[in-house]
């Protein structure tokens, strides 16, 4: 059943919220008061409840099934975290209320920072970035600030492997750098010769994801760090895949200068259909003083927040600026703290081991029916390419859409770009063996069907989803980005 848009219900005079009656005093806004209506429909509560519940049922979710999106770390989201994040003492406090009235919030931020620094063996963490990409900005801006402070503003070249997430080059550019791609070698890692060849006086940094987006640990990472440091540049590590090594390997030991957490994904904030995220960023000794405002410090027995430059300078810091109005994603901090306390040092280590174990098990089970892109073991995700679909008439996209009909969300497709028709599978530590087995059975059967010539089953997929395959080209060519009343543009666009 199609669910109409809220704008198509003729409920423009209704409201689902009762208020005490206004006193009806005339406003003091004068000519700035609005006289016309906005055209926002209102729904009674029963109508709203049903609309959004019905719509929700058209979504897939980790609570419904395995969500093998490579590089996305779709893991279980404990409901304890949701409960604690909603404690009024955390959720219903204002970022600018007197600091004496939010000591518990500061304490939580301080504790979380301690965990993050300990897990990475890094001396500083900037807590305010709002998401992973925002954390990248934070790290690269700290690098830029450090270069400027050294008087080496001319260093503008940033080395980025071709397998990197798109955010890396986009971030580099937003910090005024330009991107120089480094190729991968035959075993899916940075080509060391190419890397060495690119070092030079104008190099600012390398941005490296580790484990990388092929699901592999950059085994030369320590050498890369050392060479980059010798060349006068910095080492930015993209922490998107930190789930593979959290509690088991500390980036500080690898020579990293800056790394953002995707705090939400590694430490289990639900992805919420696209956020919110949180991107605390650890910084090395060389970059620490440039960390952005504001930050929390312990001052004797109490905590306080350093909010302005003068105060920061008095603390020996030299912030590159402020990234956001307030001081970060408290809601995600609470969830991460709850997750971390629940796991402890032992549980975090076990979680990353299980994540790696599950991925390798998928790889082992499917290596003979699908085509792994690289030999050997993987870290937290297993990369396949489309060679096993050769001459079947089935593309990676078709194969992925056919998974929907089997009750699964597809894996990450066509990424990383370094292999053809990539399929990147990350089961995470949240899946039981039985669940991973069922998943592998399904993929095995699908691969068999593709090879057996059941092409239609793939090209017509999905057949059992809330929608058939959607016309994305049309959406982009004739963009309809909002509802408009039928008499006008929208109808014309139809």
């Amino acid at each position: 059943q199609a669910e109409p848009l809220i704008f198509e219900r003729q409920t423009y005079d209704k409201t689902g919220v009762d208020f005490e009656a206004p006193k009806g005093k005339p406003s003091r806004l004068g000519a700035l008061e609005r006289s016309d209506d906005l055209g926002l429909p209102g729904l009674s509560e029963p109508e709203a409840m049903r609309h959004y519940v019905r719509l929700s049922r058209k979504n897939y979710a980790i609570d419904i099934g395995l969500y093998p999106l490579g590089s996305c770390t779709m893991k279980h989201n404990p409901r304890l975290n949701e409960k604690l994040a909603r404690l009024p003492g955390f959720s219903d406090i204002h970022p600018l209320q007197p600091q004496s009235t939010v000591q518990g919030a500061f304490e939580l931020i301080g504790d979380l920072a301690h965990w993050l620094m300990t897990l990475t063996n890094m001396p500083t963490v900037a807590m305010s970035p709002k998401a992973g990409a925002h954390g990248e900005l934070c790290g690269m801006m700290a690098i830029r600030a450090a270069l400027d402070a050294r008087g080496e503003s001319h260093r503008r070249r940033v080395l980025v492997p071709e397998s990197a997430h798109g955010t890396n080059p986009a971030t580099a550019v937003q910090c005024g750098f330009h991107v120089d791609e480094i190729p991968a070698n035959a075993i899916g890692r940075v080509d060391m010769e190419a890397f060495k060849a690119k070092l030079g006086d104008d190099v600012a940094a390398i941005m490296l994801t580790n484990p990388n987006t092929c699901g592999l640990f950059e085994s030369d990472i320590r050498e890369i760090a050392d060479l980059m440091h010798e060349a006068g540049g910095y080492f930015y590590c993209d922490g998107a895949n930190f789930n593979a090594i959290s509690g088991r390997v500390r980036p500080g030991d690898l020579g990293v200068d800056a790394m953002h957490f995707n705090l939400h994904k590694t430490y289990s904030t639900p992805h919420g259909g696209g956020g919110p995220g949180s991107g605390p960023t650890v910084l090395s000794e060389a970059l620490a003083k440039f960390a952005p405002l504001p930050f929390v410090i312990k001052d004797g027995d109490s905590w306080r927040m350093v909010e302005d430059e003068a105060d920061a300078k008095a603390q020996g810091a030299d912030p590159f600026g402020r990234m956001v109005a307030f001081h970060g994603q408290m809601g995600m901090f609470t969830r991460a703290m709850s997750y971390m306390l629940s796991h402890g040092a032992d549980g975090l280590k076990m979680a990353s081991e299980d994540a790696v174990l599950n991925a390798n098990y998928v790889l082992a089970r499917l290596k003979n029916v699908m085509t792994p892109s690289f030999d050997g073991l993987c870290m937290h995700e297993a990369l396949f390419d489309d060679r096993f679909l050769k001459d079947t008439g089935v593309t990676t996209l078709d194969f992925a859409k056919a998974m929907i009909d089997e009750g699964y969300h597809p894996m990450t497709m066509y990424f990383p770009l370094v292999v053809h028709g990539a399929m990147l599978i990350e089961p995470t530590e949240s899946e039981s063996k039985a669940s991973v087995d069922r998943f592998c059975d399904t993929l095995e059967a699908l691969a068999g069907a593709a090879k057996a010539g059941e092409t239609e089953r793939f090209t017509a997929a999905p057949r059992f989803a809330p929608a058939k395959r959607l016309d994305e080209t049309r959406a982009a060519r004739q963009p309809v980005l909002r509802w408009t009343p039928p008499s006008t543009d929208a109808q014309a666009a139809e």
Binding site: L119, P169, G272, A460
Partner: protein, 448 residues
């Protein structure tokens, strides 16, 4: 370990299938000397009950807005959110789904985003809106970058009455893009005379309305002046509820409208997560230069209406170093909360909520400014105003807190060292009862 489903027997069997003897063998690509043997130096795992006890204890060291007469604003506002909103956003299908890259099994998220975009466009009086930014301040910075891309001019003017944190976030985003920013001086309570001084080479003028001191402005003359110089007007708001009662920025001529949506559906959250709203004109050039995600309408293979993420060639995951922004994860679940709350309110409810907030603020301003030595600095305002006190405002706020009243934001906290030590920014909303107002008045009287 309650969150880890594998048993030791499972692990052994799986290692066997993989063909290695120990888990550690899976980490063989990690240089031996950086592999940790034991756990890091942090406490071991705790039961749910222990975690709950610890964090609950921590949370009780804070004073929640609902536990005190509460008048703190300056960028985040305490409004009442219906219980159904939080219930709905906790539906597993919304809460635990990824970004809707697979539209066939994400129509729930996609349709709500489409509804959200439409609501934001209607609320701001603009033609299109994106699927959200992190918050109002980063939306403001991104708007300046967008104006720079559209106009190909590299100068921007920020009104002095723009929330200083918004200005700072904008500076940070623009800093390494070689955009030159002119910061005008703040004028508490004054009307911005920004219209009178817009040079020819400016990409955009950024004006907040109501401004950080609560003052409301007619944006029309500023829009007109900016447009005459080929510049764009970026209108900013931090209190989305103000649009329930005021002329839309679109109607007053803004080209891009950005703001903080936290008042609707989201709550205070100690500053995050919030939800950045971003709307603009519908010109092709504007749409092409929008940062962030967009949901769009299309049809499926059966010809039925459906929704997808679209125009992603603007975005980092396709466009890489040519992207309009590096933003990726945005405020997904908060847009859902926002759109549900807004759907419940509708025009009627939003207007009432705005009216009540305005009335409470007017009442409060009258009562407080009648106190001896207190002066109302703001002229026209919506639900926030600035008082000049006979004492240091920061000290007054602490003294009020000691009496259990959270009485606003001292302007010096936002503008340190600018000589505003006697200014207090005070906000009221529909959540303030008469007894809250009484308590504030009485407490202020005592501490002055």
């Amino acid at each position: 370990m309650r969150y880890l489903p594998l048993t030791d027997a499972d692990r052994a069997e799986m290692l066997d299938t993989i063909g290695v003897d120990f888990v550690d063998a899976l980490f063989e690509d990690v240089p031996k000397k950086v592999r940790l043997d034991g756990p890091v130096d942090l406490p071991l795992h705790k039961s749910e009950m222990e975690v709950e006890r610890l964090l609950t204890k921590m949370s009780r060291k804070n004073i929640a807005a609902s536990e005190a007469p509460f008048f703190v604003g300056a960028g985040a506002y305490k409004h009442h959110i219906p219980a159904s909103v939080d219930h709905l956003i906790q539906r597993s299908e919304y809460l635990t789904s990824y970004t809707p890259y697979q539209p066939e099994i994400s129509q729930g998220t996609l349709q709500t985003l489409f509804e959200f975009q439409t609501q934001v466009a209607l609320l701001t009086g603009m033609e299109v809106a994106n699927a959200s930014m992190y918050d109002g301040s980063t939306a403001c910075g991104e708007a300046v970058l967008m104006a720079y891309r559209i106009t190909k001019r590299s100068k921007a003017i920020l009104s002095g009455n723009l929330h200083p944190h918004y200005a700072a976030a904008t500076h940070t985003l623009a800093k390494y893009m070689d955009i030159e920013i002119r910061d005008d001086a703040a004028k508490p309570g004054g009307l911005d005379d920004i219209a009178a001084d817009i040079p020819d080479d400016v990409a955009c003028v950024v004006v907040q309305n109501p401004d950080v001191f609560g003052q409301v402005h007619d944006l029309e003359p500023i829009a007109k002046a900016a447009h005459e110089k080929g510049a764009l007007l970026i209108a900013v708001f931090t209190e989305a509820v103000s649009l329930g009662l005021m002329k839309t920025p679109g109607a007053m001529g803004a080209d891009i409208v950005v703001g903080e949506g936290q008042s609707i559906g989201v709550g205070l959250q100690f500053g995050g997560p919030h939800v950045g709203l971003f709307a603009c004109r519908g010109d092709r050039n504007f749409i092409r230069n929008l940062p962030g995600r967009l949901a769009g309408e299309t049809v499926d293979a059966d010809g039925r209406r459906g929704f997808v993420l679209t125009l992603s060639t603007r975005e980092q995951h396709i466009r890489r170093d040519k992207a309009t922004s590096n933003i990726c994860t945005n405020s997904g679940l908060m847009t859902l909360a926002w759109t549900i709350h807004m759907s419940l309110l509708g025009d009627t409810g939003l207007r009432t909520m705005a009216q009540l907030s305005h009335e409470k603020a007017c009442d409060l301003a009258d009562r407080l400014s009648a106190l001896s030595g207190v002066e109302l600095v703001t002229g026209g305002f919506f639900n926030e105003f600035t008082l000049r006190l006979p004492k240091n405002a920061a000290d007054v706020v602490e003294a009020l807190a000691d009496k259990g009243v959270l009485g606003g934001v001292p302007a010096s906290r936002l503008y340190p060292g600018k000589g505003y030590d006697d200014l207090l920014i005070v906000a009221a909303t529909e959540t303030n009862s008469e007894s809250d107002l009484d308590a504030f008045e009485a407490a202020l009287k005592e501490v002055l």
